[in-house]
Subunit: 137 residues, 6 copies
């Protein structure tokens, strides 16, 4: 069993707020992350898959294939977008790094399993100072 | 003459567009940077000042003082904000990295000169793959 | 179950030596790390906690709260200090990265559990070329 | 149980191809990695060992000793070499990152166990955008 | 006058040797860089251009255009190639970082000037520990 | 004229204080950098030299030679040392990054000129958030 990780990037806007709360309550709970006119990040996404090496190629999976899955399922939908407004799989969800990492995992898992490997982990960096990891359970 | 550089961060939303242009024209010129619902970045800002060392302290300038100037004049206004909508010194300007670097320079220069050193350069990274440098002329 | 990590920094002096050993023995075992007049590092600390997402906020834990725990329990005591001489929780202990990582874990665990999440891992980088990880057992 | 990781580097040439395949087939499967005249990388190697701290030194293992094992068994054989042609332990194997990580693990394990700790993981970065991890099973 | 820099990557094989010298002489002068079967690097290329901002766009130059010039003139020719054998503009030249940086500058300059800006600098990193800068004179 | 830069590291302890000042005055001027029991850093040193390429080798200077000069003149004296107490060329000087960068320049210049190139710049990083540059005048 070997693990391979592909690193990708996307740049997106978001805010943290609950529409049913007052501005004061949102500000109190989410601080500057609740700024009404949005803010944004250069997100860094690490997708780790695991499985057996194919003897013929020495590959676990062709990284071009893994990159194409991540692009079509995740980064094309998020890059240069507003996470709260523009992304189908984030509709009506909190745009926190935790929730986003879990939803990215769900987007990727079926296509990655179809490609013959297991999705082990999604790691998502929001800034240089924090990141979230999700293993699917 | 010695140069010292302080590195700071801010996370902001923006878009590139001209209101007098059609959506198609904005899309054609600015591509995905024109997404109507904004996108964002983790900007990295390097402020370089120059001057003579003070013999008593071995300092060019107390970095806490330089950091306080950058915070009050620049990063407090930009961090977790929308560059197009929320930032006084960017009103009615294109929110490109080039323009933002120049305007940050103008914001910093008077306070830095008052502190007894010269502002040499503002360097602004928008992503890991590009950055702008401005020397004030 | 999701994992979130916060990265912090502290700059400290230390040396590796046993007072009951001769200078020669300390030099032989610890090499240049035994320099009598100390040396120092820019330590990088990664604190990983785990738990369930709170549906209301989309947060595992408010990172400002986690940062405040790390600051009051760990980095305020270590930053710009001498690990061997100035730090209460390192008294009479070897100031190695391994021991320091374990003691930081012990400092953090009660306050982090009180905040409603579990402390999963402390990772401590001493230089760009080595780091220690401790999971609490 | 504590984990310590040592980071090392080597710069090597390689290509991905099967000699029994036509150039077209190699090109189709391995793309530009099959370039007949080779290409190369700055590989980054992370070796993680685990065990108990020795109370006398506060060390899991003397990092100079771990570094010497990695140098003699692995990086001296790979650095400024051609992985396909010059490296005894890669003879007749696919020079993929996955296979190389597993073979490095096998090279290191006996010497590291002899030194009194367990080899936990080999992590091998080929580029900034991908890395392989192998845990020995 | 403002400066903008684009960062690109290529992974290539090379060696340093003079065909008219003996193996011993090459080994003596170039050390392990003369390994007959090649070695390789993940090169990082920074291209800095300068000029005036266009008021309509806030751009010095559209970075997609700059990236396309770098790709067609430089990185498509170097990436996953052998610098000594496969690259037209390096034929019969020493494959040192210094010479490569100068030749990349020459490849880029006409197309960048045609695009309406000046080529200010080529910076080329061979490893994390060394890089070359060339300003065109 | 081409520029080549070599990156080196050293880990050292220091403090900022004037012995003729009271503890209170030192604390007021230098803040936590005046901690009596020292603190320390992983310094990163970039040495840039300039000159003409030697046609025979494609080198500006053999980097092994440049590295040897930096090691014997600078890093061997600073690494795992106390800058205030252990370093001959820092005796009776303020151990600030600014002063240290200038003194390193003076240590290097004669040997580098003797090696046939010019010393262009010393850049010294104290932390990830600040660095000093000195060009010799």
């Amino acid at each position: 069993m070997v693990y391979i990780t592909r690193k990708e990037h996307f740049n997106a806007a978001h805010k943290l707020f609950r529409p049913e709360w007052s501005d004061e309550k949102n500000q109190e709970v989410f601080g500057k992350c609740a700024n009404p006119n949005w803010h944004g990040h250069n997100y860094v996404l690490y997708v780790t898959v695991k499985g057996e090496i194919k003897p013929e190629t020495g590959y676990l999976i062709d990284l071009k294939k893994l990159a194409a899955i991540i692009k079509s399922r995740v980064t094309d939908k998020l890059d240069h977008r507003n996470i709260n407004l523009d992304v189908d799989f984030m509709r009506n969800k909190m745009a926190s790094t935790e929730v986003l990492a879990i939803e990215i995992f769900k987007q990727l898992q079926p296509a990655i399993e179809e490609a013959g490997v297991q999705l082990h982990k999604v790691k998502l960096e929001e800034t240089h100072n924090n990141f979230v990891e999700y293993f699917g359970e």
